[in-house]
């Protein structure tokens, strides 16, 4: 087994299958969790009827989505229309490849994991745009324009924010980053504390990238039809939603790895710590979602260009100078 796993192809195939199955399952039940959590925050019950505590609700939802009529508008570009939901899940899922759960449990230990991560989340805007363009509906196109504007804007602080851990650990590989944190302390509290600010900005940016409240302007559930996904029905629509949840879950996992020391922790094995940290971050994300109102479009852009981008631009030289200074002193 272990010799087989040294072969990168077999290892990728194995962990890929595990990752896809795992991520899909966790995604399904994270919708249950989110609905239950949101319900309790609003003094409601959440799902209760299907199974004990409504635990089988995701299965019921999936069955419902699969039964729905699969509509493609007459004037739509059929190929693109069908490709978009597949790509969006594909891109979201691709991020899972580099998430380091334990030193051995990751699908691909890329030297440029961070680059891969940023590239895929940058690509996330394409399926959105593709889908709305192909559905040939002006309203979904307008929504997609806003979604793309938001996605691209928040790409900037996201990239800049993750440069801080890159400078501090001196590597682009996510597993090396965690290994460095194991040795020198988690980035969230390591001097000069730029990691903390970078974490906040990275977290915000990944929230915005995933189009979640308080940044869900393109697809405001309570006001707009469904934004870029207006013309989608059934499981294709479900795939867009699945991508959103996958993106959110993986953002939490990546934040846990990059800023909170990943598998580093006492007593329990690494995987437990990594999962625990990811879950805590996901709960926090859900908490944020159900606590805040939606930002206005201009407030969104203000937050990005007037606060997040300058802040990260300032963080990078501070971190760089400190890292060089500490290295000169024989420290880090």
């Amino acid at each position: 087994m272990s010799e087989l796993m040294l072969n990168p192809w077999i290892r990728a195939l194995f962990w890929g299958l595990v990752m896809i199955t795992g991520v899909m399952t966790v995604t399904a039940w994270s919708t249950w969790f989110e609905r239950k959590f949101a319900g309790r925050m609003q003094s409601r019950m959440g799902p209760t009827l299907v199974g004990p505590l409504g635990l089988l609700q995701p299965i019921a939802d999936a069955c419902k989505l699969l039964q729905k009529e699969d509509l493609v508008p007459d004037s739509a570009d059929r190929a693109l229309f069908n490709l978009a939901p597949v790509l969006t899940v594909g891109f979201a899922m691709g991020v899972a490849a580099v998430v380091p759960f334990t030193p051995t449990m990751l699908a691909a230990d890329l030297d440029v994991g961070v680059l891969w991560l940023l590239a895929l989340s940058g690509l996330m805007v394409f399926p959105t745009w593709m889908g709305s363009w192909a559905s040939n509906n002006k309203y979904s196109l307008i929504a997609a324009m806003r979604a793309v504007a938001q996605g691209i804007s928040y790409e900037v602080p996201m990239v800049l924010a993750i440069m801080v851990p890159v400078i501090m650990t001196g590597t682009l590989s996510l597993s090396d980053m965690v290994a460095d944190q194991q040795k020198n302390g988690w980035l969230i509290y390591r001097l000069p504390l730029t990691g903390l600010i970078a974490f906040v900005i990275f977290f915000l940016a990944s929230l915005a990238e995933a189009n979640r409240i308080p940044f869900d302007i393109p697809e405001a559930e309570s006001e707009l039809v469904a934004g870029p996904t207006t013309e989608y029905t059934g499981m294709k629509f479900g795939l867009f939603y699945m991508a959103e949840y996958i993106h959110t879950l993986l953002s939490s996992a990546i934040c846990a790895a990059v800023f909170f020391g990943g598998w580093d922790g006492p007593i329990a094995p690494g995987l437990h710590w990594m999962l625990l940290k990811s879950v805590i971050l996901f709960v926090f994300l859900t908490w944020v979602r159900w606590s805040f109102l939606r930002l206005r479009s201009d407030q969104l852009m203000n937050l990005c260009w007037k606060y997040a981008v300058p802040a990260t631009l300032a963080l990078i030289p501070v971190t760089a100078f400190y890292t060089v200074y500490a290295a000169g002193k024989g420290g880090v």
Binding site: R40, Q42, S43
Partner: protein, 178 residues
């Protein structure tokens, strides 16, 4: 820094709610008691104290119904086996609830207090026929459902001054001998 405090306050409020008992009443399993004067469900036709049908087939309700969903076939007058007086009977009485607007005008006009609304909450059905109340169903409703208090006379009593009377000039005017 108002927005800063507000941010944390928001988290606090949602966190507090998280540990509070949900205020949901799980409806089909638990049904809350309806208000005392609630009347918006179905209809029932009543029997009088002798066990005779109250409805005399006068068609007032059929005539006043705004959505014209009541259909009555009346019989010619015949002697009542209990009182010996000649009176009418309804041979057939149908209310089609599909278009009922729950205005209760039929109850207000009924001279015999023969029709009332029921207090049972919902009347869902699996087919359109379920929503058509035939005479049998209407008389069965008298036995099987909870009836509301208001008949035509009951509603009339609520009105002060009573319908068709002049409003008294002063509060004490009625007490004086004529």
């Amino acid at each position: 820094m108002g927005w800063f405090d507000a941010t944390f306050k928001t988290f606090g409020i949602t966190l507090k709610n998280l540990f509070r008992k949900p205020s949901t009443v799980e409806f089909p399993a638990v049904q809350r008691e309806r208000a005392e004067r609630y009347r918006a469900a179905s209809f029932a036709l009543l029997h009088d104290e002798n066990g005779e049908e109250k409805c005399i087939g006068c068609k007032f309700c059929e005539w006043i119904c705004p959505s014209q969903i009541i259909a009555i076939t009346a019989t010619p007058k015949r002697e009542s086996p209990f009182t010996g007086k000649k009176r009418g009977y309804a041979e057939d009485f149908t209310i089609n609830l599909q278009a009922c607007i729950v205005c209760e005008l039929c109850i207000q006009v009924c001279p015999e207090d023969a029709i009332v609304m029921t207090r049972d909450t919902e009347q869902p059905g699996f087919s359109r026929e379920d929503l058509v109340l035939t005479m049998d169903k209407l008389y069965a409703n008298e036995k099987t459902t909870r009836l509301s208090w208001h008949t035509g006379a009951g509603l009339m009593e609520m009105q002060n001054p009573q319908r068709g009377q002049e409003k008294p000039a002063a509060a004490g005017a009625e007490d004086k001998p004529a």
